[in-house]
């Protein structure tokens, strides 16, 4: 079974430029998460989707970050414009659903460097 797929794996951009990350969760997983992991830190939740609905986006900096999960499968996280402090690894995770299995399975992440 394929795991969580993320692309691109690496991205280098100049500040003020836009950037987008893509995530394909494990097939059948209803819940999708986006995390940000700064160097030497643990992941921090940005947004959680239950199917197409964003049910927890309290930690998403909405002035520059946006996310969508059309049709409740793939998801895209966008930053516009990017700032130097956005340099981090952006992780996507998915889980089956709360009734059966909440175990979160993580993708390899997208490593973003903003110059």
């Amino acid at each position: 079974e394929a795991g969580v797929v993320q692309s691109p794996r690496y991205k280098i951009i100049e500040k003020k430029q836009p950037v987008a990350f893509w995530c394909n969760p494990i097939s059948g997983h209803n819940t999708l998460y986006w995390y940000r992991q700064n160097l030497g830190q643990g992941p921090e939740l940005l947004i959680r989707y239950e199917n197409e609905e964003a049910v927890d986006d309290s930690q998403l900096p909405k002035d520059r970050f946006s996310a969508e999960r059309l049709k409740g499968v793939d998801s895209t996280l966008k930053i516009q414009p990017a700032e130097l402090g956005d340099s981090a690894v952006y992780l996507c995770a998915s889980s089956l659903d709360r009734a059966r299995d909440e175990t979160q399975y993580f993708g390899p992440g997208t490593r973003l460097l903003v110059l």
């Binding site: 030497g40 643990g42 939740l45 995770a93 709360r98 909440e102 979160q104 399975y105 390899p108 992440g109």
Partner: protein, 114 residues
């Protein structure tokens, strides 16, 4: 003060040694405790999942939770070079709605020396 505290290390031990990794926390609402392993340039993978206080063993790994002290541990027996990774503790509270937000520690970077 962070909700979850974890010594970032780095920690280096010889192959075959017993490794002890620890986290403390301040939120008494946490009831689910996890340990994730993260290899370099990879995403975290779940190692151990425990509910409330007690011990749980899985092969060479043992997770301990002491809710009275707000302290959790992961022990690795007969450590192998392949165990070299960053180990993250994570925890969450209990909710009727499920899928409570995970709060992670900073991670401890572990190196097993052959």
């Amino acid at each position: 003060q962070k909700e979850v505290e974890q010594d970032p290390g780095p920690l280096s031990v010889p192959e075959g040694a017993i490794v002890s990794l620890n986290c403390t926390y301040s939120n008494s609402a946490f009831q689910y405790f996890m340990w994730y392993r993260q290899y370099s340039r990879k995403g975290p993978e779940l190692l151990m999942y425990t509910y409330s206080s007690g011990n749980k063993e899985d092969g060479r790994f043992t997770a301990q939770v002491d809710k009275s002290s707000k302290y959790i541990s992961l022990f690795i027996r007969d450590s192998q070079p392949s165990d070299s990774a960053t180990y993250l503790c994570a925890m969450k509270g209990k909710s009727n709605f499920g899928n409570e937000k995970l709060t992670f520690g900073t991670g401890t970077r572990l190196t097993i020396i052959p």
